[in-house]
């Protein structure tokens, strides 16, 4: 079985799992009394946010190792992870405002968490634009590695921003030093969703990585050009 086929199978399983997450979240998970149905956006928004940040950390780590080892597989992985991270960031930046409107009364506010997440999205876009703009593969990989390392450095700031600044964004209720502040039925749904997004990340990155191995995948003529 080729890498592309493996990626497709993983993605297919992940999409079926996503459908099961929808059924569990919408039909079998209790309503939160204060926020109402809009609270259920949390089951998609938070796992997508975790993988948006994790994908950029992996882009940065791959960038660091690439600068030392000059292994093109690391560069290809970073490119794949960045593209998938940008997709997840798009989900975060659309589901967040959709939750914010009924709960905060506004689609958007320029607080530290939202603004830094938007900056991360722009870094993803910049990263992908740099890859498309630079023709020389070695130069492109080096520029991309540096940009990926910058993006990785932003991630801890995004996570800590709700502690460092007065923000409208809720404090972490799961990824915090003490026990998660969620009833077990909600926690199980959230963990199921996190596992599904993990599978989606693996499936998408596998397919995207396989795409970068195809000759002329982006009209640039040789394997490794992404």
């Amino acid at each position: 079985m080729s890498l592309t086929q493996k990626g497709r199978w993983i993605t297919l399983v992940a999409l079926v799992s996503l459908a099961a997450v929808y059924v569990r979240a919408l039909a079998f998970t209790p309503l939160e009394r204060l926020q109402g149905p809009a609270q259920k956006i949390f089951y998609l928004h938070v796992p997508a946010a975790i993988w948006t940040e994790a994908a950029m950390i992996l882009v940065g780590l791959a960038g660091i190792f690439y600068l030392f080892l000059k292994d093109s597989r690391l560069d290809r992985f970073a490119a794949a992870s960045a593209e998938v991270g940008a997709v997840f960031a798009t989900i975060v930046l659309t589901t967040g405002p959709i939750w914010g409107k009924p709960i905060w009364g506004t689609w958007w506010t320029w607080d530290a968490r939202l603004t830094s997440t938007l900056l991360l999205f722009f870094l993803y876009v910049g990263y992908l634009l740099v890859r498309g703009a630079v023709r020389d593969p070695d130069l492109r990989a080096r520029y991309a590695a540096v940009l990926g390392i910058c993006g990785m450095c932003l991630v801890p700031f995004i996570h800590m921003s709700v502690y460092l600044f007065r923000t409208l964004h809720p404090q972490p209720i799961i990824l915090k030093p003490s026990a998660p502040s969620l009833p077990s039925s909600m926690l199980v749904t959230w963990l199921f969703s996190l596992a599904t997004f993990t599978l989606l990340y693996v499936g998408f990155v596998t397919q995207r990585y396989a795409l970068s191995l195809q000759p002329d995948a982006h009209g640039e003529g040789s394997p490794g050009h992404v």
Partner: protein, 36 residues
Amino acid sequence: MSDVPQNAGYMMAAYVVTAVILVAYAVSLYRRANKP
């Protein structure tokens, strides 16, 4: 239950948008891999 906010439309919008983005990206990967 009457004091629970009635905002299911926002929830449905978020779930639809997420599904559309993920399926669209999956289709995009499939089509790019099969491009002649």
